[in-house]
């Protein structure tokens, strides 16, 4: 089973990278782009076959390592193979 962990800076935490991407999009002529936030996606291949167990395990991993919850929030989705 695959677990997909999306890690984003929390709302209210300045994201200079997202801001720079937004400015570059403006330079390229894309209009109508509001706030841009940049984060990361971590894909885990898990031996666990039960979706809710897999999700709980990935959330535990996110809390302990994959995200720094002082500055980041995370979201886990699971995908059967």
């Amino acid at each position: 089973m695959k677990a997909i962990v999306t890690v984003m800076l929390k709302d209210g935490v300045l994201d200079p990278q997202g801001k720079a991407i937004g400015q570059a999009l403006g330079t390229l002529g894309f209009t109508g782009v509001g706030d841009v936030r940049a984060g990361k996606v971590i894909v885990l291949e898990l031996a666990e076959t039960d979706p809710s167990q897999a999700k709980a395990a990935a959330e535990d991993m996110a809390r302990k390592l994959l995200a720094n919850t002082v500055i980041e929030s995370f979201n886990v989705t699971v995908q059967p193979e």
């Binding site: 935490v13 300045l14 200079p16 990278q17 390592l65």
Partner: protein, 228 residues
């Protein structure tokens, strides 16, 4: 004071730190590989600068989960001294030994330049050779030094006197211009509640001898060497 320096893969400032410690104390620090788990006999454990584990995931995230860290937590719990500089400060926050986090510099640029640090208090084992309110020159060399913490945490740090250093003009004035990496409330370094754990981004060990271009950082190492 018996000192030791922890080396993680990717750390590159351990020898400068060893020179600074020896320059003041005459003693060679013990060099500690990150897989070691026995820190007995040490009074001060130093986490030096560099790019531990290639800064993968987040700066200091991997190092903070290394085998040696359980011993470092125990060292802190028994009141041992810890100094974390640059990546070492990032590791201390990732390990939860100091609050907050270090974000990407507000300018998005890696900053390799001198800065001035204002000493917020001089009654600690690290700063008693400086005057409170005085500034000293230090070298910054980091991409992620923008100190962040929740407003309540910042208020608590200030109320409890746990801000060690702030980015300042040489005169001691705090301003957005002097706050080169955009840190919350110009914070460059903080203490643990017992003021025995210190983390800071700039490198005092870079200026400990006139031959290095200055000795502004030497009082910090002299103070450590003089502590019993």
């Amino acid at each position: 004071m018996k000192t030791g320096i922890v080396i993680f893969p990717g750390i590159n400032r351990e020898r400068d730190m060893a020179i600074a410690l020896k320059n003041s104390s005459g003693q060679d620090p013990r060099m500690i590989w990150h897989k070691e788990t026995d820190l007995s006999g040490l009074d001060l454990v130093v986490l030096p600068g560099g790019f531990s584990f290639g800064d993968y995931l987040r700066c200091g995230a991997m190092a903070a989960r290394s085998p040696v860290m359980a011993a470092i937590h125990a060292h802190a719990a028994r009141g041992g001294y810890i100094l974390g500089v640059c990546n070492g400060f990032q590791i201390l926050t990732e390990a939860g030994l100091l609050p907050g986090a270090l974000l990407r510099n507000a300018s998005l640029r890696f900053l390799s330049m001198d800065c001035h640090l204002r000493v917020e208090r001089n009654d600690t084992v690290f700063t008693n050779r400086y005057q409170a309110g005085s500034t000293f020159r230090a070298v910054m060399a980091h991409g992620d030094g923008n100190y962040f913490a929740e407003p309540e945490t910042l208020d608590r740090l200030e109320k409890d006197g746990l801000v060690a250093f702030r980015y300042a003009a040489p005169s001691g004035d705090i301003s957005p211009e002097a706050n080169l990496n955009g840190s919350a409330r110009s914070i460059a370094g903080i203490y643990s509640p017992n003021r025995r754990v210190l983390g800071l981004m700039p490198h005092p060990e870079d200026l400990v001898d006139p031959m290095m271009g200055g000795a502004d950082g030497k009082p910090l190492f002299d103070a450590i060497a003089a502590a019993s």
